[in-house]
């Protein structure tokens, strides 16, 4: 009697993806450093990628992997522009606290 099954169900992967995504959301909600918030977004993207690839496995088709590939491309582009924006924000306001960057309010 093995302690563990030899293989895990696919839903475990999806649950892992959901948990990681939720942790990403949590990071987005609770962290105040804009860079960390940005990284939480990357974590969410990664979680979604895991789902894509799990489904790609499930359907025995490569398409899901292609989508996660595109997600990576978008993430790379987003990181380049987003970090540029963060640098500019820091130059202008010399803070990274997301709560301080609220001049759009009211």
């Amino acid at each position: 009697m093995p302690l563990l099954p030899a293989a895990v169900p696919l839903s475990w992967y999806l649950l892992l993806s959901a948990v990681l995504f939720s942790l990403g959301v949590a990071g987005f909600l609770f962290r105040k450093n804009i860079i960390t918030v940005f990284m939480s977004i990357e974590l969410m993207l990664n979680a979604v990628n895991l789902s894509f690839i799990a489904f790609s496995y499930h359907l025995k088709q490569v398409d899901g992997q292609i989508f996660s590939f595109f997600v990576m491309v978008v993430a790379a582009a987003e990181a380049a522009v987003g970090l540029g924006i963060i640098l500019t924000v820091y130059k202008n306001r010399s803070t990274l606290e997301i709560d301080e960057i609220d001049s759009m309010k009211n």
Binding site: L4, P5, A6, A7, V8, P9, L10, S11, W12, Y13, L14, L15, L16, A18, L20, S22, L23, A26, G27, L29, R31, K32, N33, I35, T36, S40, E42, L43, N46, N49, L50, I53, A54, S56, Y57, K60, Q61, V62, Q65, I66, S68, F69, F70, M72, V73, V74, A75, A76, A77, A79, A80, V81, L83, G84, I86, L87, T88, Y90, L96, D99
Partner: protein, 165 residues
């Protein structure tokens, strides 16, 4: 061997993700995220997505996150202060997330047949050959469009990084 590997790296991933959220220093968060990414790459390998696993390491861990680390070092971002200006988050954040995970897992459990096991090696269509073939045939147009996207990102980054804006 599948189950122990999955459990090990799933544990590392979740632990790193929690560390990302909990750590107060951005560098720690960034390295936690690298940890998530690397363990996810292993899981991709288990799922038969070799190429994506390599791309995950090279692109995500090797390029994107290095950029993050760079920016953090450049700005010399310190630890966060404790302050909260959003009562919404304060009061509803955790419950919302719990509900969220619950709903998702409920749906996922209902959607998939229990017998859908992941066995390493049963799906081998994730090599560079297959991914490349799909990219350059079915997904040729999106693939070319991403080149424009990247070009735009490069231009945007350069414009943003100039001395005066």
């Amino acid at each position: 061997m599948d189950a122990p590997l999955f459990l090990l790296f799933a544990f590392i991933a979740v632990a790193s993700a929690i560390s990302l959220v909990v750590q107060t220093h951005p560098i720690s968060s960034a390295l936690s995220l690298v940890g998530v990414m690397v363990s996810l790459a292993v899981l991709y390998l288990l799922l038969g997505a070799e190429f994506i696993a390599a791309a995950q390491i090279i692109v995500y861990a090797g390029a994107v996150m290095v950029l993050f680390v760079f920016v953090i070092m450049l700005l010399n971002a310190g630890t966060e202060h404790k302050s909260s200006k959003s009562p919404m988050v304060k009061w509803f954040g955790i419950p919302l997330l719990v509900v969220f995970i619950g709903v998702i897992s409920f749906i996922v459990q209902g959607m998939l047949p229990k017998s859908a096991l992941v066995v390493f090696g049963t799906f081998t269509q994730g090599g560079p050959l297959e991914v490349g073939r799909a990219l350059f045939t079915t997904y040729l147009l999106p693939f070319e469009v991403t080149s424009i996207l990247i070009l735009i990102a490069i231009i945007g980054a350069i414009v943003l990084a100039r001395k005066e804006i």
